[in-house]
């Protein structure tokens, strides 16, 4: 993966820091203030490097002439063509995600109290122009005010070498770029596991009772309420919440259910553990219950001993340092969110994630009332809707390749940009499956990518076949595969090739292709097993899933300009 860094000032030093932080190649064009040429010229070095992410870091003051802009209108007129150039580049280069800085423009001109400064209008206009085009922002203005301009910039190296930022400034920008990169490639944690006493409220509920703990709508107890508000933001963005507390279950539940200032409700948590067992044990049991890896957890606890115990038991769990000053709780959660849960764009699936996991608990209870699994599956009334990729589901398709570990035959990851490109390629067939049953909707949970070859297309090679582990063990995978085989056959394919690539996390599907009737044809160099099936020999598989296909499932979808 290549990252490009463009700017209207010298960013060689910043590029070096970013390169150290992300351990990826960072391309920064030579020459001073060439960013607009680089964007406009289709033959430019920028495009020949074909970066996956292009950061554009702009020094606000330098975008205008020596005298600045005479008025807000003049400033907007100067910025509009630059915004257009970025917008056009982003629309033409689907493989590259352009991330553009907001403009921090200090007011330097000496003006009377009653006057019209162009600077704030210019920054607001720029932000609006980027947001309107759907371009992700790296908020330089916010960083400058958080650090303080005096410390964010360094005039000495600016005059010596056109390097605008200080060391802290560069470090902050590089760290933010690294976070944004993680969000774009989809390396986001899934679950936030929280302690109760000292974390969601102040004091021990077992000793102080519901009335005694610190938690309030206003005043000093509101520091915990503000903290909870940010936790709730995360839940709404698709992060699963869990509680791991050393308490009696009864005390914990009384606090959660009855405290009048509790912002987080019982139903906001996908799992609750309040007992006296070691916390790593509880975390492991939650990981099994929710079917997510231990490495998907972030663990928050005010007690340093608990944090250390967790870190020793599971080095892969992220354990951020809890602030010693509880007045900093909200800031702490904002930082934790940026470090581990930064999201590129939200999908519909994210918003209802917790509800889906809770519906799963209802299903388990319902299941126990049936004599056999088949009977239970039949009563679930499952419908799998299969369609091709379109603007509405492309982000989710990419997200599925990034996040699915267990039921993933090849574990090939695709960015949103790559996914768009594949969707537009007539020799690649992509389809996504959405499942619902009597308890609710699962959203898009299965994805298949098949590459066709031969003239006419005789062979299909299954590049991606994955399914969310939440719906494993119900025959959905068989129904999905059968529908795909049928479609490939209809498209004239005679031979289907498949691969199982072991990753250490997808042991559950080691025998999948064999179970589906595929025959081993060989092995790859890195331990993968190759399979094939003659399309006509595809067996019919009995499943309790109704399949609906949208007619144009395999019509390729041009996604230009989305």
């Amino acid at each position: 993966m290549t990252i490009a860094l463009l700017s209207n000032v010298t960013v060689t030093s910043l590029a070096m820091r970013l390169n150290k932080d992300v351990r990826e190649e960072v391309y920064s064009p030579g020459g001073y203030n060439t960013w607009l040429q680089e964007l406009a010229d289709p033959e430019s070095e920028l495009y020949s490097n074909n970066p996956e992410i292009a950061f554009i870091i702009l020094h606000g003051t330098s975008l205008f002439g020596e005298d600045g802009a005479g008025s807000p209108e003049e400033a907007k007129a100067a910025l509009a063509p630059m915004a257009d150039a970025i917008g056009q580049a982003a629309a033409n280069r689907e493989k590259t995600v352009f991330v553009v800085s907001t403009l921090d423009i200090p007011i330097n001109k000496i003006r009377p109290l009653v006057s019209r400064a162009f600077e704030p209008y210019a920054s607001a206009f720029w932000r609006e122009e980027m947001e309107r085009r759907g371009i992700p922002l790296i908020d330089l203005g916010e960083m400058a005010s958080a650090i303080g301009r005096k410390h964010f910039y360094n005039n000495r190296v600016w005059y010596m070498g056109s390097l605008p930022f200080s060391k802290s400034g560069e470090e902050a920008i590089a760290a933010e770029m690294a976070r944004i990169r993680r969000a774009i490639i989809g390396a986001r944690r899934k679950c936030l596991a929280l302690d109760l006493d000292g974390t969601l409220w102040g004091g021990a509920i077992g000793e102080l009772g519901v009335e005694g703990v610190h938690l309030d709508l206003t005043g000093s107890g509101s520091r915990f309420r503000d903290f909870q508000r940010r936790v709730l933001d995360l839940k709404e963005s698709g992060v699963l919440l869990a509680i791991i507390s050393k308490n009696n279950m009864e005390d914990a539940m009384t606090g959660i259910r009855e405290h009048p200032a509790m912002l987080l409700k019982e139903q906001d948590f996908a799992a609750i553990r309040a007992n006296w067992a070691p916390k790593p044990e509880n975390l492991l049991s939650i990981s099994k219950e929710l079917n997510i890896g231990v490495d998907s957890f972030v663990f928050i606890d005010d007690n340093p001993v608990e944090r250390e115990t967790m870190q020793i038991a599971f080095p892969e769990v992220a354990v951020p340092n809890f602030p010693s000053d509880s007045a900093q709780l909200e800031n702490f959660m904002i930082e934790t969110a940026r470090d581990y849960f930064l999201q590129f764009r939200s999908t519909d699936e994210d918003r209802v994630k917790t509800e889906q996991y809770r519906a799963e608990a209802d299903r388990r209870e319902y299941m126990s009332s049936f004599a056999s699994l088949d009977e239970y599956l039949a009563s679930l009334d499952m419908t799998l809707s299969i369609e091709g990729l379109s603007r509405s589901n492309i982000s989710r398709a990419s997200q599925l390749t990034q996040k699915t570990n267990q039921f993933n035959l090849t574990s090939i990851r695709y960015s949103e940009a790559q996914m768009k490109e594949m969707a537009a390629d007539p020799s690649i067939k992509c389809c996504i499956g959405e499942l619902r049953d009597r308890f609710g909707e699962y959203g898009n949970i299965a994805l298949c990518v098949a590459r066709l070859s031969g003239e006419p297309h005789k062979t299909a090679s299954i590049d991606v076949f994955l399914m969310s582990c939440r719906v494993m063990g119900r025959g959905v995978e068989s129904a999905f595969l059968s529908a795909i085989e049928q479609d490939l056959r209809d498209a004239g394919v005679s031979e289907i090739e498949a691969l199982y690539q072991p990753t250490g996390k997808n042991e559950a599907v080691r025998d999948f292709w064999e179970k589906m009737g595929y025959l081993v044809t060989g092995r790859t160099e890195n331990g993968g097993v190759k399979y094939a099936l003659s399309a006509d020999a595809a067996p019919s598989r009995t499943v309790a899933v109704r399949v609906r296909e949208k007619k144009d499932i395999y019509r390729t979808m041009p996604c230009q300009g989305s």
């Binding site: 060689t12 030093s13 360094n154 000495r156 190296v157 010596m160 070498g161 200080s166 060391k167």
Partner: protein, 67 residues
């Protein structure tokens, strides 16, 4: 002061010592000089602005830092 300067320099030039100079360390270019100045600034060690362009060695930095 000497140790502090070397410690800061090593973050930018990993094998820096008091003997290091732009002549005997080819990876020390003008950008590295500015990075060293940036790092020194944050530690409260300010080389006079007029002297930055004259920096050629670790010894220069130590001498200028005392000015």
């Amino acid at each position: 002061m000497k140790d502090k300067i070397i410690e800061i320099m090593r973050k930018i030039l990993p094998d820096a010592s008091m003997e290091t100079s732009m002549d005997n360390n080819p990876s020390w270019d003008s950008l590295k000089t500015l990075q060293i100045v940036m790092a020194l600034d944050e530690e409260g060690i300010a080389i006079p602005f007029e002297r930055i362009a004259e920096i050629r060695s670790a010894a220069d930095i130590l001498a200028m830092a005392g000015e």
